[in-house]
Structure formats: C-alpha cells, structure tokens
C-alpha cells in the first residue's frame, strides 16, 4: 500500500530534477530545508529521525541534494522526507514536507479491532512492516 503523507504524495514519485526544483522554491521563500528518515511510517508518527541538522542559509539546492544522496546511501530502504521550515514570526512551522524516497516494498497497514467494555470497538492501525521486524530491518529484503 502506497503511503500518502505530505505534499505530492498522490503523484508519481518525484524525480531528482523535480526534487531540486521544489527545494529551489523552498530556498527562494527563505525556508530552511532539512531531511528526516524513518522505517515506522505510521501516520501519527510525527517524529522521524533527523538526517543532520536543518540546513540554514543555503542559496542553492545542490547542498540539499548532496545530503539527500548521502542519506539515501545510508538508508536505502527507509522513508526519507524533505521538510522546509519557515521561521517567519507568526508561521514558525514546517511549511512544506514531501517524501523523497520510499522502500521498494510497502506492505501497508492492518486495521486492528479491539473489543472493550460493553462490546465497544476500538480501532487502531498497525504497520505490517513494523510488526514483522525490529527497527532498522523492517523494509530490507
């Protein structure tokens, strides 16, 4: 099941040229771009691991693309996302975030039904990949 989180996630995966163009747009807006990766793509998992520090004061997307290549190298079967942080007063938040790499196989999520008091049902999502193996080995073939 293809995971759809952040911008552009209903489109086909962005090519490197397209990612470069998006990063160039972010830098043009004065946003600080950072990279994060994870192998636990639960929709409520907000805290992905940071790949280095956010990159401040960049003028050109080449620096981000270099880090992205390094991150892909180190984490070939992880989700990697590009975040663009806007520090303008009043915003002070991530303005744009999109997935720049996904694992080759995405097994998806299972809907778990749990019966509680008075036949009440509670639902939760459980990732097959996360259940299958511990962290770091979830998506490796």
């Amino acid at each position: 099941m293809r995971i759809t989180q952040g911008c552009f996630s209903f489109l086909p995966d962005l090519t490197d040229t397209q990612i470069t163009a998006q990063v160039a747009y972010c830098l043009q807006q004065g946003w600080a771009v950072s990279l994060e990766y994870t192998d636990d793509p639960h929709p409520r998992n907000n805290y992905w691991s940071m790949w280095g520090l956010p990159m401040f004061d960049l003028a050109d997307p080449a620096g981000v693309m270099q880090e992205l290549a390094a991150c892909r190298d180190a984490q070939p079967e992880h989700y990697i996302r590009v975040n663009a942080f806007d520090s303008t007063r009043g915003w002070e938040t991530v303005r744009m975030s999109f997935i720049a790499q996904r694992p080759s196989v995405e097994p998806g999520f299972r809907l778990v039904r749990q019966e509680t008091d008075g036949r009440k049902l509670q639902y939760r999502l459980e990732s097959y990949a996360v259940q299958r193996s511990p962290e770091g080995e979830r998506y490796s073939a």
Binding site: G52, L53, M55, D57, L58, A59, D60, P61, A62, G63, V64, Q66, E67
Partner: protein, 333 residues
Amino acid sequence: MTASDLQHLAPPGETAPPAVEHRIDLAAEYAEAGIADVLERLDRDLVGLAPVKRRVREIAALLLVDRVRQRLGLATQAPSLHMSFTGNPGTGKTTVAMRMAEILQRLGYCRRGHVVPVTRDDLVGQYIGHTAPKTKEVLKRAMGGVLFIDEAYYLYRPENEKDYGQEAIEILLQVMENQRDDLVVILAGYAERMEHFFESNPGMKSRIAHHVDFPDYGSAELGEIAERMLAQWNYRFDPAARLAFNEYITLRRARPHFANARSIRNALDRMRMRQALRLFESGATVDALALTTLTEADVRASRQFSAAAARTLADDERDVDFDPERGTDRIDY
C-alpha cells in the same frame, strides 16, 4: 538556425569542425552575456591593478569561447574554475572576487553568483569530529556560488601534526574535484605564504587553474583611491591637503604593516575624526563646504609627520593601526 539545431545535425561522436556557414558572432555573444558591463565596471571602479584586470579579461574570454565551442558541439573539457588570488593586504582581492562571481554567473558557470567569504575559523573545528560537519556546512552554503577562502594557508599548520586543518583541506579537495559545476573556490592570501601552502599541498595546486597576482598600488594610485573614497563619503581634500596627503602616503608606505588601500581608508577615517574635532572646537557656525572639506591641518596632524623627524622603535610599535594578518576590516570601493 539555432545552436541546438546545430548539435542535432552533427552525427554522434563526430567532432569535426562544422561547415563554414555556421558562424557565431563573438561580439554579439559577448554583449548578450552581459559581461561587458561587469568588465567595464571593473575597469572603471578599481584603480590600477592592470595585470589583474587583464587576467580577469582573459578568463572571461576563455569561458565565453568555451561556451560557444560547446554550442557548436566541439568537445571541450569542462573548465576548471578554481582560482588563487595572491597579493598583499588591501590590494582588492575580495572586491575582485565579488566581480568574478558576477562574471561567472553571467556566463552560466555559476548558478547564483553569491560569494561566501570564510577563513580558517569557519572551516576548521575545535575538537575531533567537529571539522567535517563544519566544513561541509560551509560548502553547502557556498554551493551555486563562490567560496572565498581568505588567508587559505592558515588551513595548513605543518608544525602541529594533529591539526584539524588537513581534514578540512581533504574535504575541500574532494568537493573541488567532484562538484565543479556546483562550486567555485577562490583561495586568497600573501604570495609567498600561498606558494609555501601550495608546495605542501600539491593536490590543491593541481586543482587550481588560475593564479592571479595582485600587485601593490603605486603612490599615485593610492592618492586616487583616497580621492574616490572621499568622494563616496561626500568629503574632499582642499588643494593643500591633497599635497600633504601625497607626502603622507610616501611616509606611510615606508612604515611597517602598510596595507595599501586599507591603510589609506584607516588614515582617512582618522582625518575625518580630526576634522570633526576641529569644527567642533572652533565653535563657529559651519556650512556645507566646511563640513565636506579636509584641510591641510587635518592631514598634517598625523603622527606620521611628527614621527618622521624623530622615530624610535617604541613609536613603531605604537603606530600599528591594524593587524593585516587578521584582516578584520575590508575595503568597499
């Protein structure tokens, strides 16, 4: 017929010169790139520096011709653009680096054309494992523009074998080699020490294609620089002061730690202070003319004149008005 059409016409792999009718007007190409304007401003704004201007012109011409050759499908090696600027302090290395970035951008060899000036402190870390991220961060900031490393020889400290400078140099070399499209590195510093630096880092020397030497300014050129600086700040010398300033230049040049245009700027700053004090203490009403004129008295009050008569070593020590090695203050023309 456009240049891209020409490329399609040529059979793949063939680099034979195209037929005679595919002529490209170099002058038009030159005008179109908009570098004429930059070169002209370089000529106009900077006093003297004839050999430097010539070198910059040569480099610009080479890049322009290279670009035209590329469009005609003539195989050209991607030009190496890393440079080294050598010369004494205050000879305009930073200013020329800014112009160089502009030229490179107009010719399309540099995407943004911004200059990131750094020194050893910005590249080398303070403890193990600190240098690589620090250097990489600076490199990332400079991508798409020019990385200007002032006093580059400080990166290499042969007397301390545990110095982290070597690590920074290695990362730098790697990027200079692999990401030539993304980054142009300009190293700057005193001629002899740069020479020594290159001798101990042959890898660095071989990756730098253009060595530009900045000569010292002559006395007349320094006088002209002074006048331009004053004009920029809306000041001027009266005729007697101008003559006195020529004398000042002669005296100052003979003293230690003379830093060309930077020393001139500092001297002018002190003269402005003396003028302000003189006007203030005279208590009279002032008009625009008085406010803009530096008189002979303002110039002659300099310690250079009194010290010229009786000079002791202690004077020399006291008279150091800046440390050229630190290079903290910069000239803006």
